[in-house]
Amino acid sequence: MIEVIDLSYTYPDGTTALRDVSLKISDGELVAIMGPNGAGKTTLVKHFNGLLKPSKGKVLVDGVSTDKMTVAELSRKVGFVFQNADHQLFAETVEKEIEFTLKNLGFQENLEELKVKALEEFDLLKYREKSPFSLSGGERKRVALASVLCANPKTIILDEPTAGQDIIQKNNLLELIRRFNSEGKTIVIVSHDIEFIVDLNPRIIVLVSGRVLCDGSVQHVLTNKSILEYSSLTPAQITEFAWRLCEEWTPLPRNIVTVDQLLAALKEHIIGGGL
């Protein structure tokens, strides 16, 4: 469980990135942090594994304050996957890339077992002897994921995982997140990819100028015009379509976000033979 209590953070150069943020993420939750660039999203999640320590307030991971623990200690509980795989990969082989994390985090007797599990999980067994630099972009992304998640952390943080990814890669990621989440892991994802978030259907926390603007479901947050406006987000295409249908054609609920919801809402029209 992650508890954030009155957290404020000011960078050494004097810019305040977070102001009095309080929130709680329970075990097994699926949470998206959204908001405009520079709103403090990444700054917030960097507190979860201790990369940043609060200027004011507290961050508790499983009840223990993060300033009492090192990043390495916290990383066994909270895995942080950075946006760009190229910022992580350096080893001669994919296998060594994973060993690096496991050794650093103090896994010894079950190192081999965890390594093979990670290689299998991310479909990397066939590349175990290969250099990460010889792989394609999508494969490197999988190595980066494996190199953090091999330690089997209870909480997973993903910073902008879909940036520059095509739909096949996005769908793989979607499936992966769902699988980990169904295994009971807590997932925190920083993103402004609206359509991806709609598919994922997480709880959404919106940050604007270092404060929590709102906290709620996809249907609540992404269909609220003023929240979208304040947070530089745009409605999902289906939401916008439903709103326009509503204005110009027939009454519909305001909180439609998926294709299936729209079809369901139009059910009467379809059965009635109009459509």
Partner: protein, 254 residues
Amino acid sequence: MSFNIFEAFKYRRKKTFIHSLDPRTKLALALGVSALSIIFTELIVLLIIFLSLVPLLLIAKSIKEWTSTVKGLTLLIVFILFVNIIFNGLSFAISMVLRIFSLITAFSLFFLTVHPDELSQALIQMKIPFSFAFAMSMAIRYVPTIANEAQTIREAQMSRGLELEKGGFTQRIKNFIPIIIPLIVSSIRRAISIAESLESRGFGAYPNRTYLLPLKMRKRDYTVLITLLAAIIISVIIKFVVGLPPLLLLSIPF
């Protein structure tokens, strides 16, 4: 990590008389003052040189940046002071410190008030090849970008349990490998994409390149340069021909 020392050497956008001078004038000023403070060893003269720079700092509204550098260099200055007191006596020690102050001030005045683009333009007009001058200004442009990237990589590896402070000396050096390699790889990628972008806008394609903002010496530049030249000539004559008046030879008697 503290970058305070560099504060006095980072350009600040301001509108002052000093900022408006041609970079070549300011370069001459920095070199001229340095020459003077090296020619003279007398305490009083060095004090005069240093004090004459203070008004320039005031005009350039750069006292604050200058102070932070001096603070950053306190340790070095104290060290020089003590070593010289022990070996050469107090008077010489203070002279040395004043000389260092003058040198720091002269050059920080230059870097604080000369935009890197102006500097490269000045180099071009001093017949340094364009590609060289451009490379220099681009290096300055990308320092913060690469520094940010290095920080991100460090955090990414810390999130995989990397502890930089762990182990003995050799281990500590090894600890940097997971940071250095990604930094090199991404810098190479970046360099290629920068090159693509330069190439796509005709970089270096034609010998007769236009310079949109050529530097021009103005009346104020000539005024400063003539004053500087006069000061140097007079000083040299006094030092080597006439001899310094007794007042300027005063020193602390131990």
